[in-house]
């Protein structure tokens, strides 16, 4: 359901779940209305980091939004020091999630690479009981969230160095697992991974939904900072560019030119 507000969130807990990867649970009003694949803007308190940081929603738990993020700069460094009881301002909820209701009854493959893994957990949770196979790609054996996927779906791992799961990427892991013929792929991860998934899906006539990332300022469709090239003219912009924050971040892979 649509919800858009500045939420004064309250930190319930935070822990470092892997090297430089933090899991932050924030109680906020928007949590009850969030859908898997949406994101929030988190405002730093520091006056020298002004813009909100777009962070995907990992899952929602009892009126709280769980954000699993990597410390990548000043803003996320600040967030990593948030403690239970601290206040944090969220611009919630942003973008459109994965079309979880449309894919039920199909063979669904979820793919997450690196810090693109967290939003896929919420998708797996929403599709619990369905024929869901999650492929997670890591750099090495420093994994995170993998155990949690096992509550909801079948799990397959890949790592670049081969230290866990299949050596290679998530597509290598999919090719290595026999008997799985996905009808739908849903994915979030680095751009090379998403490009490869788009190509794989097109070659195999599979519908793929991919979640894109871009540097953002407003998060609400006003600044046009976060656009992605599109195959057809976009309804809003009337050019071959669409707003990731508003029309995305999840797109049918056939519609975007990445």
């Amino acid at each position: 359901m649509f919800y858009r507000n500045i939420d004064e969130g309250k930190v319930i807990s935070q822990e470092e779940i892997s090297s430089g990867i933090f899991s932050l649970l924030v109680e906020n009003k928007g949590a009850a209305f969030a859908s898997p694949g949406q994101f929030v803007g988190v405002y730093p308190n520091s006056k020298d980091t002004l813009l909100m940081r777009p962070i995907s929603i990992c899952e929602t738990v009892d009126g709280a939004t769980r954000l699993v993020y990597r410390v990548a700069g000043k803003g996320t460094k600040e967030f990593s020091s948030l403690k239970k009881g601290d206040s944090v301002r969220l611009l919630a909820n942003l973008g459109n999630g994965f079309p979880v209701d449309e894919v039920k009854g199909k063979c669904i493959v979820l793919m997450g690479g690196g810090i693109g893994i967290p939003p896929m957990l919420g998708v797996a949770k929403a599709l619990k009981g369905e024929d869901v196979h999650a492929y997670l790609g890591f750099r090495n054996n420093d994994t995170f969230l993998a155990d949690e996927f096992m509550q909801y779906c079948k799990l397959y791992l890949a790592s670049e160095d081969g230290s866990v799961g299949v050596k290679g990427n998530v597509l290598d892991a999919l090719r290595a697992s026999t008997g799985i013929k996905p009808d739908v792929i849903m994915a979030c991860g680095p751009m090379p991974m998403l490009r490869a998934i788009k190509k794989y899906a097109e070659e195999n006539n599979i519908t793929a939904y991919i979640s894109l990332e871009e540097r953002m300022a407003c998060g609400v469709g006003a600044c046009l900072g976060c656009v992605c090239k599109t195959v057809k003219k976009d309804d809003h912009s009337h050019v071959n560019n669409t707003r990731i924050c508003t029309e995305g971040p999840v797109f049918d892979a056939r519609e975007v030119d990445i």
């Binding site: 002004l50 300022a217 609400v220 046009l224 976060c226 009337h238 050019v239 071959n240």
Partner: protein
């Protein structure tokens, strides 16, 4: 207490406007802000035909502000007339359409298409630093600015506001050229050209390499330029550049601005425009100011 201001015969309920490009067409922020409370909505720049804009990354945060190099992506004047203007017409606020172009003819075509709509004023963007043709090329030389202002003024049925670039040696020369060519008002400042380098990747952060800087860090530059222009010309000035709150807006008004525009602050706080409206009112009450016009240009 009077907060009304009049610019070129157009009366605004208060001096607070949105800065072009930071507020979309008003629709995007109407979920946070009651547009009826604003003096005016200034739209994202619109051209005669749709523009694709620049490649991404288009935005970057910098200390005290941000850089943008959107490149004036816009759906063109037809979509503005069919979709955005009817939306804005539902609100009791003035509508100023920002017009951009690559040639004088482009600007005139867009202005002529909008002449018979309910738009209150045009703001002419001759100061965007992020497009290669047109825009700023008209705004950095006084004779070029005079020429385009003169032509647009003759083509326009509405009052025009020439939006000036700070990326010039002497902004008062530009203000004087706009005034001499018949501009009804001027607005300043557009963004200041900047650059950011990712030292880990040894790459430019913005695909366009350079971008326009906005945000609180540019405010002192903007206040200085508003002050200088207010001493150089008699036409009204709309001041902008780093306004975050009511006190910032008062500073611009005391420097000589008739109205102010809120830009990057919208990204930092979606309620920024209303906070500025309320902050001005609070300042007026606490300082016994009966009429906002009484403090305009009050510093010597």
């Amino acid at each position: 207490m009077n907060t009304k201001v009049t610019i070129a015969g157009v009366e605004f309920k208060n001096p607070v406007m949105t800065a072009s490009g930071t507020f979309g067409s008003g629709m995007e922020y109407s979920q946070f802000v009651d547009l009826n409370r604003l003096g005016a909505v200034v739209t994202k720049g619109v051209s005669n035909v749709p523009w694709t804009g620049n490649p991404t990354p288009r935005v970057a945060e910098v200390y005290g502000g941000m850089l943008n190099a959107i490149g004036l992506q816009n759906p063109g004047v037809d979509v503005m007339i069919e979709r955005d203007l009817p939306f804005l017409a539902k609100y009791d606020t003035k509508v100023i359409v920002n017009v951009c172009g690559k040639s004088v003819e482009d600007y005139i075509e867009a202005v002529e298409r909008l002449n018979d709509t309910a738009v209150d004023m045009f703001e002419i963007n001759v100061s965007c630093p992020n497009v290669k043709e047109g825009a700023i090329a008209f705004g950095q030389k006084a004779d070029a600015l005079f020429n385009i202002t003169d032509k647009i003024k003759k083509a326009s049925k509405k009052p025009i506001i020439m939006k000036l670039s700070p990326n010039v040696t002497d902004i008062t020369e530009m203000a004087k050229a706009a005034e001499a060519a018949g501009s009804d008002a001027i607005s300043l400042i557009n963004t200041i050209t900047g650059m950011k380098i990712d030292i880990e990747r040894r790459k430019m952060v913005l695909a366009n390499k350079t971008g326009g800087m906005s945000g609180p860090a540019i405010k002192p530059v903007a206040v200085r330029m508003v002050y200088q222009c207010s001493k150089a010309v008699k036409i009204p000035i709309i001041g902008m550049g780093g306004i975050m709150n009511g006190e910032d807006a008062i500073e611009f008004i005391m420097a000589g601005a008739s109205a102010v525009a809120v830009g990057a602050a919208n990204f930092i706080n979606p309620y920024a425009t209303i906070d500025v409206v309320e902050g001005i009112e609070r300042f007026m009450i606490s300082h016994n100011i009966a009429d906002i016009n009484d403090i305009r240009g009050c510093v010597e």
